[in-house]
């Protein structure tokens, strides 16, 4: 139907993730804008308790596809479970949490059912059929306003942190089984297992102070001022992804959506632009200091204090000042 909104929840062994609750809130808001009530979809095996939990929300229904083939996520089974339902019910929007799992299958699902694809939105505004969506472009340096054109269902994914997790409107929803025929689904991916990334893992989540360094440092041989400041502050060193990808620091120092999520009392980001995948890993820090030569770097939008300048001049000066202050 032209105003139906579905929300597909992600869970881990029946635990609904935080971003899924944020997405439920977003879907409720979207449905209200379209004059309808959102419906949730839960895929898995033995997810009855999770469904009951979701059913305490103001939703038209919680549709549960409980099937052995959905125990471990694979794109083939998930697309198999969702495609025919989306095609027959033709909701206006199907809203997903923007996670690596969602991105892994959402585009292919859109292609399979002939739906539109709108990834990683952070907001929407407007009324009825005329909505303007906001999403980051250029690694978060710019925000784009996007409109959907044409007819038919649109698959949308919602950036984590964009909508409040406690924004879900409470209520009571009926739980309904979603009949899925997965007999015809060819497994496209044989899951062999899951493995932890870093070996001798540094636990950055316990650090009170973190000095994090980005691509702007310029190379593995230019790390000395970072180390000196970390030493003066008694801090751990963290990094953005390119620093790790380039081999300047080991992977267990990575902060962000693929790395560790930290919330120290002081986070110093030097030569880090502030892409959303980095911000999700550190924006809970109590005090954020950004040092960047580009005054327009998005990191300054989440920072409390900033210094615009070359980190190779600023960090040594900062180390001096910290030493002087500490006596």
């Amino acid at each position: 139907m032209a105003n139906e909104v579905w929300v597909v929840l992600q869970h881990r062994e029946g635990q609904i993730s935080r971003i899924s609750w944020e997405t439920v809130g977003a879907a409720q808001k979207l449905a209200a804008t379209l004059g309808s009530k959102a419906e949730a979809v839960l895929l898995g095996s033995g997810v009855g308790l999770a469904a009951a939990e979701v059913a305490k929300s103001d939703l038209a229904a919680v549709h549960v596809a409980d099937h052995d083939a959905l125990r471990a996520y694979t794109p083939g089974a998930y697309i198999g479970a969702l495609a025919s339902t989306i095609q027959s019910a033709a909701p206006a929007f199907v809203v997903f949490p923007h996670t690596y799992q969602t991105v892994d299958y959402m585009a292919r699902l859109a292609q399979a059912v002939g739906a539109g694809l709108l990834p990683q939105v952070t907001a929407f505004q407007g009324e009825g059929g005329d909505l303007l969506w906001t999403r980051p472009v250029m690694s978060g340096k710019l925000q784009a306003k996007v409109r959907v054109k044409g007819e038919g269902t649109v698959l949308v994914s919602v950036q984590s942190g964009a909508f409040p997790a406690d924004g879900v409107v409470r209520g009571e929803a009926p739980v309904k089984p979603l009949e899925v025929d997965l007999a015809a689904v060819k497994p496209d991916r044989e899951i062999l297992g899951y493995e932890e990334v870093g070996g001798d893992t540094v636990d950055l989540t316990k650090a009170e102070i973190i000095v994090a360094v980005g691509r702007g440092v310029g190379g593995a041989d230019k790390m000395a001022p970072v180390e000196a400041l970390a030493k003066a502050l008694g801090a751990e060193i963290g990094a953005s992804r390119p620093v790790i990808d380039n081999g300047w620091l080991p992977r267990d120092r990575q902060i962000g959506s693929s790395g560790q999520t930290v919330a120290p009392k002081l986070y110093v980001a030097a030569g880090i632009s502030g892409a959303i995948q980095h911000l999700v890993g550190m924006k809970g820090s109590s005090v954020i200091v950004a040092i960047n030569k580009d005054p327009g770097a998005p990191i300054f939008t989440v920072a409390d204090y900033g210094i615009v300048g070359d980190l190779h001049e600023v960090l040594p000066a900062l180390t001096e000042a910290v030493r002087a202050a500490k006596g």
Binding site: R108, Q111, P119, V137, A290, G309, V322
Partner: protein, 264 residues
């Protein structure tokens, strides 16, 4: 193995960005372009697999004339030839429209493996490779951090990044589309010899008609998304910027951290 690698040319994020007069995208004049970061890793992975298995890499790119520079660079590091989806009708496509066009171009040849980057650093839809896989009817994996060929190159053990430091390890049957994440290898630089050799390599071009597609199925016309405007984000609560030279700013910052924020 015969491997296709799809690359995109994107603005260098280090560059000074300006919004175009109509507000809908960046001003591209004087804007430096580079090969998208994760695509560089895809290209390197393709070259390594081709070397190991005695095959070749064919690079594909969709975009205006400037993307020939990106293709030329890919040829210089070792790709055998290139295909340029070159037509104004291809411009402004979302992941569905671009994926449709690339799949049609890939179908004209027969590949054992297609590699793409995981996400572009400009519009960042992160779905083009998956859409290509859908059109080809092949398995796909997004955010690939490791590829090991198995079963006489008929299958691959693929490591996929998941959130918070866990990887999924799976086996997919080939041919497949693997969407490579930055960081799984170390992309090589072009040698002088490679650069010279690239000058003689072929860059074929293809239009929608060549691919059996209608102009209305690709680019902006074939897309469900339309970018209405782009703007720099308003600085949230806004950082207090400490002024002066490095020394003055650093001293002022430490004082703030001690007395105002009380974290030192």
């Amino acid at each position: 193995m015969k491997i296709a690698v799809c690359i995109k040319q994107v603005p260098n994020t280090e560059a000074r960005l300006r919004v175009r007069r109509d507000g809908r995208w960046l001003e591209e004049e004087d804007l430096p372009f580079i090969i998208n970061e994760s695509d560089e890793y895809a290209l390197e992975e393709g070259l390594r697999i081709a070397e190991k298995t005695g095959g070749e890499v064919v690079v594909f790119s969709l975009g205006p004339d400037r993307v020939r520079e990106a293709l030329r660079k890919a040829l210089a590091v070792g790709a055998a030839r290139a295909v340029h989806l070159a037509d104004p009708a291809f411009a402004g496509g979302d992941a569905l429209a671009t994926g449709r066009a690339l799949a049609a171009a890939l179908k004209r040849d027969s590949f054992d493996l297609v590699l793409t980057g995981s996400q572009s650093d400009d519009v960042g839809y992160g779905g083009t490779g998956s859409v290509v896989a859908g059109h080809l009817g092949w398995p796909h994996v997004w955010l690939v951090m490791g590829v090991e060929l198995e079963e006489g190159n008929r299958a691959a053990k693929v490591t996929r990044e998941m959130e918070s430091g866990v990887n999924e390890v799976s086996r997919v049957q080939l041919p497949a589309v693997l969407e490579i994440q930055a960081g799984l290898n170390h992309p090589r630089y072009a040698s002088l010899k490679g650069i010279m050799a690239a000058k003689k390599k072929e860059i074929a071009t293809a239009t929608p008609a060549d691919l059996g597609l209608d102009a209305a199925q690709v680019g902006e016309a074939g897309s469900r998304l339309e970018i209405v405007s782009v703007a720099f984000p308003a600085s949230g609560k806004g950082a207090q910027i400490l002024q002066g030279d490095a020394k003055a700013a650093a001293t002022a910052l430490v004082e703030k951290l001690q007395k105002e924020a009380r974290v030192l």
